[in-house]
Subunit: 207 residues, 4 copies
Amino acid sequence: MPKVGIEPVRKQQLIEATLKSIEANGFQGTTIVTISRLAGMSSGIISHYFGGKQGVIEAAVRHLLEQLQQGLLSRLNSRAEITPLERLMMVVETNFSGFQQSSPASSTWLSFWGQAIHDPDLARLQRVNQRRLESNLLYSFRRLIPDLARARETAGMTAAMIDGMWLRSTLSAPQDRNFREAERLCKEFIHLQVERFGHQSTGSNNG
Amino acid sequence: MPKVGIEPVRKQQLIEATLKSIEANGFQGTTIVTISRLAGMSSGIISHYFGGKQGVIEAAVRHLLEQLQQGLLSRLNSRAEITPLERLMMVVETNFSGFQQSSPASSTWLSFWGQAIHDPDLARLQRVNQRRLESNLLYSFRRLIPDLARARETAGMTAAMIDGMWLRSTLSAPQDRNFREAERLCKEFIHLQVERFGHQSTGSNNG
Amino acid sequence: MPKVGIEPVRKQQLIEATLKSIEANGFQGTTIVTISRLAGMSSGIISHYFGGKQGVIEAAVRHLLEQLQQGLLSRLNSRAEITPLERLMMVVETNFSGFQQSSPASSTWLSFWGQAIHDPDLARLQRVNQRRLESNLLYSFRRLIPDLARARETAGMTAAMIDGMWLRSTLSAPQDRNFREAERLCKEFIHLQVERFGHQSTGSNNG
Amino acid sequence: MPKVGIEPVRKQQLIEATLKSIEANGFQGTTIVTISRLAGMSSGIISHYFGGKQGVIEAAVRHLLEQLQQGLLSRLNSRAEITPLERLMMVVETNFSGFQQSSPASSTWLSFWGQAIHDPDLARLQRVNQRRLESNLLYSFRRLIPDLARARETAGMTAAMIDGMWLRSTLSAPQDRNFREAERLCKEFIHLQVERFGHQSTGSNNG
DNA sequence: GATGAATGAGTGTTCATTCAT
DNA sequence: CATGAATGAACACTCATTCAT
């Protein structure tokens, strides 16, 4: 039994090579050869570890989704006490930081989404991700906005604004500056909504 | 002159066949054969008229973008006098109506966007579209919100929310109901912003 | 519409190239490339005309079976009046002549049979061929041997002897001399059976 | 000496696994992995013991041929005194029993034969087997049929009928009933020939 | 000895493009 | 002009073989 425990390492290397290849060559331009070459391995290794091209791609998506979730969890654990508003800020930051840090991910996400439409497995992963964001937002908004229907609406609007900001930033010019501005606007939207519909809201508040 | 002017007709038929094929078979499943068969023509005609597969796809995107613009123009021309707020509603309606009417377009857009990242020609078209939406929104918001910076921010937020709502609706379950709810929330957001930052705004305004 | 009527010609050329390739390289060694190269065409042409490798192989088998049947028919039509015994000789001659004339076929048949075991489509064709031979033999034997059960048995024995002789000749050394000797022994067997069990049989007959 | 003598055991297990795999997956579907997995060993062991896939397959053929020979020997040894006619019956029984008992062998043989045409090593084994059967038959027929040429002819016919019957039974429907009927007809053929050309033959002999 | 992870040449198939008709 | 037959490079995937352990 040679090289015990090397399997997870190589799988991880292949997943990263997959993300790099999609970043560099796009979804259509990503082949088993481009992935394996980036990983410095043979082409057969992908079928060996992931059963096929589809397998490694799904694993890569799952990896991105897990990274996103872990990013939020580590933020939440970084502080002892967190107000609902702080928590909302962290959700926003997580969703944008993921793309600032590992810039490849930015366009990769969009490639995945484009693919998800006609690929049921990817679509399922995508829907899980959507529901998770919305439920994360709603959890905090319910503590800030007494009217449940309004809290729901706001959660939906915020989720849309996060995705829309991210989408427009990615498509127009995926630069760091754009993402930071996008993050700022999302946070501002949340503040505006909480001021307007939150518990102690007295109405006007020129933030 | 028996065949004069037949070229634009055939090109249009091929563009429509391209959209139909992407709707039916997805981006990856769309080939020169699926397009030409849907158009009832030979496969060679695509290279003949559009130079290749890439060409007909770009033409199809251009067609979708023009449809979007024409949709807004015809709405604006339908009424003699239009307030800035009404105009904003029309912009929102236009962006969602395009997808309600011809449902195929919904997922087709996303396919194009996914493709656009690594296709400079598509990306350029996409950026033109983005700027047009934002500038359309800003044109109206400037007439409603005196603070220019605030008007810009609001235009950006609105554009993001439109795209984000559309994106989430398309990915989760492209049903008519979702799109109508998405449209409603976008309009609500605009109302909230105008109430908050508009000319006559005295600050608080409880719905 | 270029080159009208060229399709059947090219299909026939590909079928012959398939038989040549199986003769030369065996069943396992026959690939789309070996076939198309022998036919002087591109590799894609096989999928174009036959849907795939499986398709061209089945077409080749069908071609061999048809050749066999046509061989018998042309022999039967070559004479105005044919006695049942003459007809039996013709059946035997047909089954051996096919392999003398186009020597490649000899080992090709065996390759097909080996393949037929795990390929339902080939197996079906093979069974049709078997039944045809046996029914051809029985048709004549019934006119020569009054006892129906005996006629059936003899038809079965003759079919087995034809196949067995052919099989052993092919495997041992596919030379013309072997096939002619095999043919002679099959004919002799028929004569012996008819002498023994035929209508006017008085018993001994040193043919 | 803990591992001395383990090699022949493992080789035998691999040979049996090879036969099982061919029975289950066909010749084409049999790979080094299917064989080694059935044997509960690693894939590398086959190259280790047999030099490669080709090696284990040849060993499997040799095993089948030896089984056939051993089958006849054990039958011959089961009785003290055996008449030439009894011996012929035993030869027939041996050739069919091998396939009734271990039904897998039936289709496996044909796969081997199909392969043998383009594999010199397999072909040589096959020819040895053929000659052995014919010589076995001739040995007995010479004691029953005084005319040597006639005895030779009859041996050849019998060998062909055995192979032909087996071939047709295997291809049409490898059921036990078919093999028993095939065996019966071969025996009947021998009786007919001996009656007709045997020592005491006075010519006619109505069953 | 024995393993099985890794390789990479080879497979059947797809499909954008070309071009003789 | 328009066709669609033909091409052949590119694809995902298979699998006998190798070799470090």
